[in-house]
Amino acid sequence: MKEVTAAKGVKAEEHAEAVLAALVRAGLPEAEVYLKEGRSRRLALGLAGAEHQVLVEEGWSVRAGDRRAAFFAAGTGRPEPQGPWPAPQGFPSPLPDPSPVVRWTDPPDLDSPLLTELEAQALLNAVAEALAAELPGATLVEAVLEDGSSASTLASSHGIRARWRHRVAWARLVAALPESAPAGAALGAPVRATVEQGAREARRLQPRALARALADRLAVRARGDLPGRETGDVVLAPAVAARLLAALLPLLVGLEARERAAPLVDRAGRIGSAQLSIVDDGRLPNGLLAAAVDGEGVPTRAVPLVEGGLYRQPLLAWWQARGLGNGAGSGNGPARVASGCSARPSFRDLPRPGPTHLFVRPQEGVRPAMLVGDLARGCYLLDVDGPGHFDLAGDRFALPVCGFQLDAGAARRPLAGGWLTGSIGALLRGVAGVARDLAFFPLGGMIGSPTLRVTGLEVRPGE
């Protein structure tokens, strides 16, 4: 390969090639070079005042060795082709072979400029004003708005050449209502609510919608009563359903997932109701983390994990699926089972498998209100009040929640301080309705769900 010096102005692809060539010449035939550049703006409002940050990131990582041993090195700036490189040790770090990439077009808004300082301030001010208008007395006590873009370059001695970009904006808002106290808590403590939302571009975040979401949660927590033992159907807002799904990831992701899920799968291979389908899709249209390839250059695709209630397969990276001649069902080899699902949270990290956009498949044409309308008695659960407890082996869970008691399809009274409890098997088999309002949340990957209606669970006053 042609040698190119590590001079400024050299394109990332050219620099990666130069480093790769040097590694191979140095007797490291299994080599991969990863370069990342990024820029982000962060505005945080809180008790300390306003904090404006601009972060320019430039980092790299190399994993290299032979078939017996390898090293991993990472750093800031760009790597020098000549190293020095650590001696390979321990176990090798296997690299994927190139695979055809399904045609991909970058979303057009990847190139939109980052929010300016004034725009960021104006957006958060708009949320605060809208919140005060929605719920007099409510204030925004903490707000963080991040808007960033990144470009990654990957080159390996196996022939992978990949480049991908991300553009993500994220808002985390905490509001408080000072005069009220939540059910079961000490008097005098302010009621708080947190809302998080992401978008490809911060200018798409809607201040009024964010304020309304905060106000709804504050109002429920401030005025809610402790539930009695509510045993009717529960309708789960996306925030609640996604949190439950996130807790079930050990049943859906990784080599041991199938074994963990086995006690919940019946002889027909069914783990959930016929309404329940769960997918991981690294190239989800409009997905915040969507790209043609994953962090190892392996093509992404939609992988059905649960389909119509049937447990199809866990989410596996290419190296986890190796040797699985028949992982997901008859006729499925490793290529069919594996997915491009290795992420690099930062240049400092080795790629590791995990969900990109993992979600309950929504049902087109079903509005959330349609899941509530014919409900004689039950609960609509709006938000989660804490991490909860999940015992996958013991098939039990308990999640602190707030929402509304429902009667004849309408909200009767707000509920706060309650717990959604039941068996994990009942949760999965009890999915009786799925709406169309899919929403994602950052829960170890982007985990998403639409509104769900579930039978067989209980909302009670204590854990």
């Binding site: 300390a48 005042g49 940050q53 601009v54 994993r63 390898a70 991993f72 650590p86 302010p190």
Partner: protein, 437 residues
């Protein structure tokens, strides 16, 4: 030191252009970090090396703060960061300092990392225990240089180790300042204890007397005193300056944050804002003396002493945090405290603590412990946690042990910033504590 030939006057002149008045806070933070990791056996890439360097320039004016951070440590990055933070363009561009840092040099030595797994195996064999485990080891080295328009403190250097052990029945981890035989003995002791109690049942939920081992004491004080007395935490619930003089315990609890007294490898003369550190009495005789504050909070509130500003990296703003917590000794041996407890629990292995600043609710979880009955230690018990209001918990201190030992070293995560914290304490007896299984 990599910053040995830094042109400090040039840095100061460049930073001085950012300040418009005497109340502006301006500084530059230069950082170099090296982490060497020895992963567990059978994991790919048997040696993992990360070297980072970069800088950040900060301007604080009134209640606003601007930070520009970069992943390069050169003149161009510095000038770019200064320009980005400046509220008005400087009339004349100050010449950038010609060199900020020396090159890295050769690869780091890893002998002590490579030798530690064998040391640990030997220490476990001497304890007559054997079980499969996976050990992950890291060495952390951090060098930093703070520069301001007026002050140029000396560069700081810290070095420590972190370990994580995965077991069939759980995991444990911690921090060490060295990796010799003493460290191997300490880790082996924890692992052997965990092995012997792995099938112990949790204790029943009860209100009882509790004796905390030094590790548990430091963790309790970290959550219930240090976090509670950080200026930003205090501001969430009231006026930080009003905390001074409040009595939290009738017992003679003397708790200091003393970065200058920490073990040598992590000892500091200045904080991450370049402010000189001093031993800071958090509690003196059970009464709040001096909350933890950084420059911003000290300026906002007056009456608070800066010098406790810490930051995870150049990409994060500093915030008040403790570094090295010390509880001064009382009197009594462990046996005497256990005898005084009569019946209760001895809790030695803290796993996780949490303080809710809004409500004052506090929980501290333990991986295992031992039952106290008739004033003596008896059978092991499994996981449990103590809970309550932190002020109530501190009010239940009955006795403080007489021998202070290094303890409680671990990672502290708050506000998205993960920092190493260190401590030294004796045992602590608490009376009438709610224990939950």
């Amino acid at each position: 030191m990599p910053f040995g030939e830094l042109d400090r006057p040039a840095l100061a002149r460049a930073l001085a252009q950012l300040a418009e008045g005497p109340d502006d806070l301006v500084d530059a933070f230069l950082e170099r970090v090296e982490v060497v990791e020895l992963p567990a056996a059978n994991e790919p890439a048997g040696i993992r090396l990360r070297r980072e360097e970069g800088l950040a320039v900060r301007l604080c004016r009134g209640d606003k703060c601007w930070l520009a951070s970069r992943d390069r440590l050169d003149a161009e990055a510095f000038v770019d960061a200064v320009r980005q933070v400046a509220r008005v363009y400087p009339r004349t561009a100050a010449a950038p300092p010609p060199q900020l840092v020396r090159p890295w040099g050769g690869l780091p030595a890893t002998a002590e990392l490579q030798a530690f797994p064998r040391r640990l195996d030997r220490a476990l064999r001497e304890r007559r225990v054997a079980f499969p485990y996976r050990l992950h080891l890291r060495r952390h080295r951090r060098e930093l240089q703070v520069a301001t328009p007026h002050l140029n403190p000396a560069a700081e250097r810290e070095s420590w180790y972190s370990y994580r052990v995965e077991l069939q029945w759980g995991r444990l981890g911690g921090l060490l300042v060295e990796l010799g035989d003493e460290a191997a003995e300490a880790v082996a002791g924890r692992l052997a204890d965990a092995f012997r109690v792995r099938e112990a049942s949790p204790p029943e939920s009860v209100t009882t007397n509790v004796v905390l081992a030094p590790d548990s004491t430091v963790t309790l004080l970290h959550e219930a005193v240090a976090h509670a007395l950080e200026a930003d935490t205090l501001a969430e619930v009231g006026a930080p300056e009003a905390a001074r003089g409040v009595r939290l315990s009738e017992a003679r609890l003397d708790v200091l944050d003393d970065p200058g007294g920490a073990p040598h490898a992590v000892r500091r003369r200045t904080d991450d804002e370049g402010t000189p550190v001093v031993p800071r009495w958090l509690l003196r005789g059970g009464v709040v003396d001096q909350p933890l504050a950084d420059q911003r909070w000290a300026r906002r509130l007056g009456g608070l002493q800066p010098g406790a500003g810490r930051r995870e990296s150049r990409h994060r703003l500093p915030a008040p945090r403790s570094s090295y917590l010390r509880l001064l000794p009382g009197e009594g041996t462990l046996d005497e405290l256990v005898a005084q407890a009569g019946d209760g629990l001895y809790l030695a292995e803290p796993s996780r603590g949490r303080l809710d600043a809004q409500s004052g609710d506090f929980t501290l979880a333990f991986a295992h412990g031992r039952r106290i009955r008739g004033g003596a230690l008896h059978e092991p018990v499994g996981p449990c946690r103590i809970a309550g209001r932190f002020a109530d918990l501190l009010g239940k201190v009955g006795a403080i042990g007489g021998k202070v030992v290094p303890a409680g070293a671990g990672w502290c995560a708050k506000g998205g910033q993960r920092l190493p914290v260190w401590g030294a304490a004796p045992e602590l007896l608490l009376g009438g504590i709610e224990v939950l299984s």
